[in-house]
Amino acid sequence: MATVAHEVGIKKNYLTAIKEAIYEEMGLNPGLISIGEDIGILGGAFGVTEGLQAQYGTQRVIDAPISEAAIVGTAVGMALQGKAVMAEMQFIDFISCGFDQIVNNMATYHYRTAGEVALNVTLRGPAGAYGGGALYHSQMNEAWFAHSPGIKVVCPSTPSDAKGLMKTALRDPNPVLFYEIKELYRLRDIEEELPEGDVTVPFGQASVRRAGKDITLVSYGQTVYHCLKAADILAEQGLEAEIIDLRTLVPLDEESIKSSISKTNRVLVVNEAPKTCGFAGELVARINEIAFEHLDAPALRLTRMDTPVPWAKPLELFVLPSVNQIVELAQRLIRY
């Protein structure tokens, strides 16, 4: 497939990176099945699986009815029978309709069976706000699943991470929830040449996206770019922010966070999900546990307000974290 073959010197976008990972893994593992709404004939709402069914057939690339619970449940059954499964949620928001099968069935299967059954299921789908998607096409609901033991949670912010992490997810014997940031799918600014060959990115390793000594900004997904922009502004003021892109939430790379804070002594967590019980709060709590003695100021978080994501642009921007807010909070923490 020309669309997915590796091409030296060609920059690729985030969506293509994910597409390549899925194509390659479908090719490498004949036991990998893909299922989801409109992923076959149409090639997916965003085109992530474009051409996949033509390549691998209707048996392995299944156009499911609009039945999220059945999609997850059958994925569990296929994995129980030894298959690997990629299951797409058309938008991650609709995952709520398959919620029980995820948290009570899929997540717990290995635990309940004392290890007899591991389910290689990757649930993936487009997520995130800032694009005018309103309440039901903007969610980041990773905290629900991070709170449901037995699921790995992944959220890449760059094309090469997206590809490498997707390959890892599709091989991991455990259930993985893979958050794809749809506003990054075709963002030109972040296109990059992908590493040649069968390169994976391991779970549980954060990436330092920018080094700095004055404050640590911890984030993942879309808000990593807010942090990068804020860091540029802070740099103009002589303040050096270190930016940690977690890449995987479960498992979490506590080491990288700790070692950064031991250097900067200040930390701000930035996250676009609602504040209460979000992953940002979890990070603050963890930081308290692992790096309290290094903190010269409280570990703070900047999140969405405790609201849904509204539709109209002024409303949407009002409730979501902004670059300016990061800059201000970082300044405040550095001055603390």
């Binding site: 499911a64 609009i66 619970a69 309103a134 039901y136 609201t307 509204p310 002024p314 009002f318």
Partner: protein, 378 residues
């Protein structure tokens, strides 16, 4: 003003009926009703055409799920409702928001519907809509008008409809609740739970299945093992009928039968309307749809434009002359091919009112984003 389009009360106004149609609900419609129905078809079409054009010009924020070619389902199902009835439209039913209870007067201030102004304000993402542009334009509604707000999660309003029906009956009301759903949405678990509940309690909920033969990019045989989605009803022991969704009078007949059945306390039922999606799933999908949908199928659908079907019937019945029928030629055209001259001027003016209001309506102010999470002062 409340319409009571049931057989007994409307009998006096009945137009002459052809022998074979004797017992059909449509036989109770007056000639004026027939012409009003045609005008409503124009209105629904014009709204859609206008939105398609605005969207193409990049003026609108949301995704447009065109109802082009499916208007007979909306007009035919809404026409016989009482003002006190409820509806829950979904993404492809936007004209329903302002066409509910339209029979009680386009300019009737007490009409139990959203006004064209309110709907347009939401489309233009302005604060003049009841929802103040907080949710996407296809998820609007208005409690006081008897319109249930949908979330995006398909089939999710059916249990809400059941709850409204239950509570209304408890209060001595006789409202019927009409829910709209694409055929693909019938695969959702909540569809099953809600209809089962409604069937157990014989609630006056009519589930309309708009079978346009595609759920986004998935054809019906991958959604359901049978061709007729009305057969879903059989699993609940409730009636399931099939209407020609391009024929507004067939829709009217089948839905009115279901509504009468519901109102008389016999319980819920399903009406499948076979129809045809003119464009892509949403406007973003038009190009891809051209690839995944067989050309013959698109042609077949195009050739049964509900405006054309309605017109020939009206001509046949003698309610419209051939010359009158030729006057406005919106049918069998793509949105881009139509001009305002293809529509009755009152239709164009009606929408203009809405658009003018919308354009003048201010954006919601940013701080509203943080408001109304809870009702305060509990």
């Amino acid at each position: 003003m409340t319409l009571t389009p049931t057989a007994s009360s409307a009998k006096s106004k009945a137009a002459d009926a052809a022998p074979g149609e004797q017992r059909l609900p449509r036989t109770l419609l007056t000639p004026e009703d027939h012409l009003e129905i045609l005008k409503q078809l124009y209105l629904a079409r014009y709204f859609d055409v206008r939105l398609i054009k605005e969207k193409k010009r990049g003026r609108l924020r949301g995704t447009l799920y065109s109802s082009h070619n499916q208007e007979a389902v909306l007009v035919g199902s809404l026409f016989g409702l009482k003002s006190t009835d409820w509806i829950s439209p979904i993404h492809r039913d936007m004209p329903a928001f302002f066409m509910k209870d339209l029979r009680s007067g386009w300019d009737n201030p007490d009409r139990r519907a959203m006004s064209i102004e309110e709907v347009c304000a939401q489309v233009w993402c302005k604060s003049g809509s009841p929802g103040r542009a907080r949710d996407n334009w296809s998820h609007i509604g208005k409690k006081s008008a008897g319109i249930i707000h949908s979330t995006s999660m398909l089939a999710g309003t059916i249990p809400v409809a059941a709850g409204v029906a239950y509570a209304d009956r408890l209060d001595g009301g006789d409202a019927v609740i009409l829910t709209y759903n694409g055929e693909g949405s019938t695969a959702q678990g909540v569809f099953h739970e809600a209809i089962n509940f409604a069937a157990v309690h014989k609630l006056p909920v009519v589930t309309i299945i708009e079978n346009n033969h595609w759920a986004y990019g998935t054809p019906t045989h991958l959604e359901y093992p049978l061709q007729d989605f009305a057969r879903r009803a059989d699993g609940y022991g409730i009636p399931g009928s099939i209407a020609d969704g391009q024929d507004v009078f067939d829709v009217y007949d089948k839905v009115m039968e279901a509504v009468d059945y519901a109102r008389s306390g016999k319980g819920p039922s399903i009406v499948e309307c076979k129809t045809f999606r003119a464009y892509g799933h949403g406007d973003h999908d038009d190009d891809r749809a051209a690839k995944y949908r067989p050309v013959e199928e698109v042609e077949r659908g195009r050739n049964r434009d509900p405006i054309a079907v309605c017109k020939s019937y009206l001509v046949e019945k003698g309610y419209l002359t051939n010359a009158e029928a030729e006057k406005y030629k919106a049918e069998n055209k793509s949105a881009g091919e139509t001009t305002d001259e293809d529509f009755p001027p009152e239709v164009v003016a009606y929408l203009k009112r809405g658009v003018d209001f919308a354009l003048k309506s201010p954006d919601p102010s940013p701080e509203e984003g943080g408001m109304w999470v809870f009702r305060e002062g509990a």
